[in-house]
Amino acid sequence: MRDDNGPIPLKVVVAGGFGVGKTTLVRALSEIPPLLTEEPLTAASVGVDDIAAVPGKNTTTVAMDFGRITVDDALILYLFGTPGQDRFWFMWDELARGSVGAVVLVDLRRVEDCFPAVDYCENRQLPFVVALNDFPGTTGFSAETVREALALAPDVPVVRMDARSDGSCLATIIALVEHALERTTVAG
């Protein structure tokens, strides 16, 4: 039932702490409105801003950070936003498997929120870029300072972006794909 000559789905994971801009980034790039899905409560707590749980109910309607970019008629890129928190790791494994890689969003006022996501990517050898979101008062930090603070490997791209700008979000995704491509060349 699988057909190797058909359209190809690709995915990118968008990670980072609460309020760092995941939803903003996914919506900026997606050509479809946010999906309302009905999911079991365990899975529903992922990538979700607001869970309205009803007692006695095991599923709930959630708005996923899920976006779609139809790159061409045979290549579709999906974006999955997910909070980088320990209790969501089970979710990460499924989303990260086979993905292009991850964008780890960082709010420099709360750098530590991105540590778990960075650790995860490093441990699983998932290609990732660190995207410094342009929040007020964060321009004083250089990318190099951040690289040092996060103890990033020299090849990991650190980019600045503003999740409220479509072009900026696209540039971040492009940086990730470039990096993932380099990794395939180096590794293979």
Partner: protein, 126 residues
């Protein structure tokens, strides 16, 4: 997203606006029968005539007139993606749909360089 467990879904709490009652469409089966389709797997309708199928199956086939992911199928039918996976598998088995799973993996299970190059070119052209 993970293999779902809608089996414990109770009638009492069911949303009235659900398009498809979970049990009805999956015949009580709530797990995919060993098929491990990732949630981004694409579904595309074949030209097999589907006029005699039940409504929710026809909805999926209509939706799959262009490539859509399991995630999108689940959302359109208002069922968990695990249920969408079962429905899609059944329709694929009987020839109404073709499922395009992610490209054969390159190094480390990641997409191959050729695919990434195409993706890069497509994104840069935007």
């Amino acid at each position: 997203m993970t293999p779902d467990e809608p089996a414990r879904h109770t009638g009492a709490g069911r949303r009235d606006d659900r398009v498809v009652p979970v049990y009805a469409v999956t015949g009580g089966r709530t797990r995919s029968s060993g098929r491990d389709l990732p949630v981004e797997s694409l579904v595309l309708a074949t030209d097999r005539w589907a006029g005699d199928l039940q409504k929710e199956h026809r909805m999926i086939i209509e939706l799959a007139g262009r490539p859509v992911s399991l995630m999108e199928v689940g959302a359109a039918l208002r069922v968990p993606v695990g249920v969408a996976r079962v429905l899609v598998s059944d329709l694929a088995d009987s020839g109404y749909l073709v499922v395009h799973a992610p490209a054969p993996a390159g190094v480390g299970g990641r997409p191959a360089a050729e695919v990434l190059n195409r993706l890069l070119a497509g994104l840069r052209a935007r």
